[in-house]
C-alpha cells in the first residue's frame, strides 16, 4: 500500500512571501539549535528554542513536531517548494489592512483560487475604496475610482441635466433689542 502523500497546509495568517521566508529562517534556526542540543553532553541544561505564533499555527495545522527530524526535513522541503511554486498575487488597498481582514481574504483565496496562494500587500490611497489585484499577467481593478470612471458618462449626463442651483437668500441680521 502506497503511503498517502502529505501536503502542507498554510495558515491564513501566513500571507505573503515575506512570512514564508521568515518561517523558513525560523525553521533553519530551530534545526540548528536542535542539532547543537544533540551535540551537547548529556546531563546539561536543555533549553528548547522558542517558536513564533505563526510557526505554532503552522505546526498545529499540519500536526507536525519540530523535535522529529523527519518532520523538519519534510517541512523544509515543502516550504521550499511552496516558495518556488506558489502563485503570488499583488493586492493594493487604500489603507493598511488589518490582520483579521487579511485572514478572511486569505481564507477565501486559499479556498477559491489556490491553496498556496500568497499575496503582496500594497497601498494606493487614491483608489478610495476596494482594491486592485495584480496577477501574473492581468490587473483587476475593483476600486471605487475605477467604478466611478466606468460610470463617468452617467455622472456627466446627470450633472449637465441638473437644474442650476438657486442662489441662497441673503442672511438677515438679527433684530437688535432696544436698550432699557
Amino acid at each position: 500500500m502506497e503511503p498517502k502523500k502529505r501536503t502542507l497546509q498554510l495558515p491564513v495568517s501566513l500571507v505573503g512571501p515575506t512570512d514564508l521566508g521568515r518561517l523558513s529562517r525560523e525553521l533553519a534556526n530551530i534545526d540548528e539549535q536542535l542539532l547543537q542540543l544533540k551535540l551537547r553532553q548529556p546531563g546539561g541544561e536543555v533549553k528548547l528554542p522558542k517558536t513564533t505564533q505563526l510557526m505554532d499555527q503552522l505546526l498545529s495545522l499540519n500536526r507536525l513536531n519540530l523535535l522529529q527530524p523527519a518532520d523538519r526535513t519534510w517541512m523544509r522541503e515543502a516550504m521550499e517548494a511552496i516558495r518556488q511554486n506558489a502563485p503570488v498575487v499583488q493586492i493594493s488597498f487604500s489603507v493598511d489592512p488589518s490582520t483579521a481582514f487579511l485572514e478572511k481574504l486569505m481564507a477565501w483565496l486559499r479556498r477559491e483560487i489556490h491553496p498556496y496562494v500568497l499575496i503582496g500587500i500594497g497601498l494606493q490611497p487614491n483608489i478610495a475604496a476596494g482594491c486592485v489585484v495584480r496577477t501574473t499577467n492581468k490587473v483587476f481593478d475593483f476600486s471605487l475610482r475605477q467604478n466611478f470612471a466606468k460610470k463617468q458618462d452617467e455622472l456627466q449626463k446627470a450633472l449637465l441635466s441638473a437644474p442650476a442651483p438657486t442662489p441662497a437668500p441673503a442672511p438677515v441680521a438679527a433684530p437688535v433689542e432696544p436698550a432699557p
Binding site: S94, L105, N126, A128, T135, Q156
Partner: protein, 206 residues
Amino acid sequence: MTIWWLVLILVAIGSSGIAFIWLAVRLNNNALPGKDPNASLEDAANRDVEHIFNEAFREELRNRGRLHFEKIIGENAMFLQQDLRLTTSQLNEYMKTEITHKLTEEFDKYEQSIMDAKQLAIESIQKTNTAIDEQRAAMSQQVQQEIMAEKQQLLERFESRMADVVNHYVIAAIGNQIDLNDQLEYILTELEANKQAIIEDIQHGT
C-alpha cells in the same frame, strides 16, 4: 554937350594928377638933406605905432581876443555838445528802432518757429494717439477674443472634466472614511466574479 563934359572930366583928372605930383615933390624937398626919407617915415610910423599900440592897448586886445576866443570856444563847445546830444539821441532812437525792429522780426520768426514746432508736435501727438487708440482697440478686441476662447475652452474642459472633478472630490472626501472591513464583502464579490480569470492567469503564469 557930351563931348564938353568929357573934356571937362579929363581936364579935372589931369589937374588932380598934376597937383598930386607937385605935392609929392614938395614933400620930398622938405625932408632933411642928410637923412633917408624912408627911414624917417619908418621912424614916424614906429612912433605912431608905439603911440597907438601901447602895452595897455595890447593887453586889452589880448584880453578881448582871449574873451572872444573863449566865447567862440564855448559856443563851439555848446554847439558840439548840442550836436553830440542830438546825434546821441538820434543814434539811440535809431538803435532803439532798429533793435526793436530786429527783435520783433526775430521774435516773430521765433514765434513762427515755435508755432510750427507746436503744430508738428500736435500733429505727431494726434497721429500717435490715433495709432495708440487703434492699437488699443485691436488689442482689446484680440484680448476679448482670447478671453472668450479661453473661457469657452475652460468651460468645455470643465464640462468634460466635471465628472472627474466630482469623482476626485468624492474619492478625496470619503476615501478615508470607509472601513476596509466594510469593503470585504464587496471585494469578495468582485473576486468571485473574476475568479475564473484569476485562476486561469495564475495557472498560465505559474
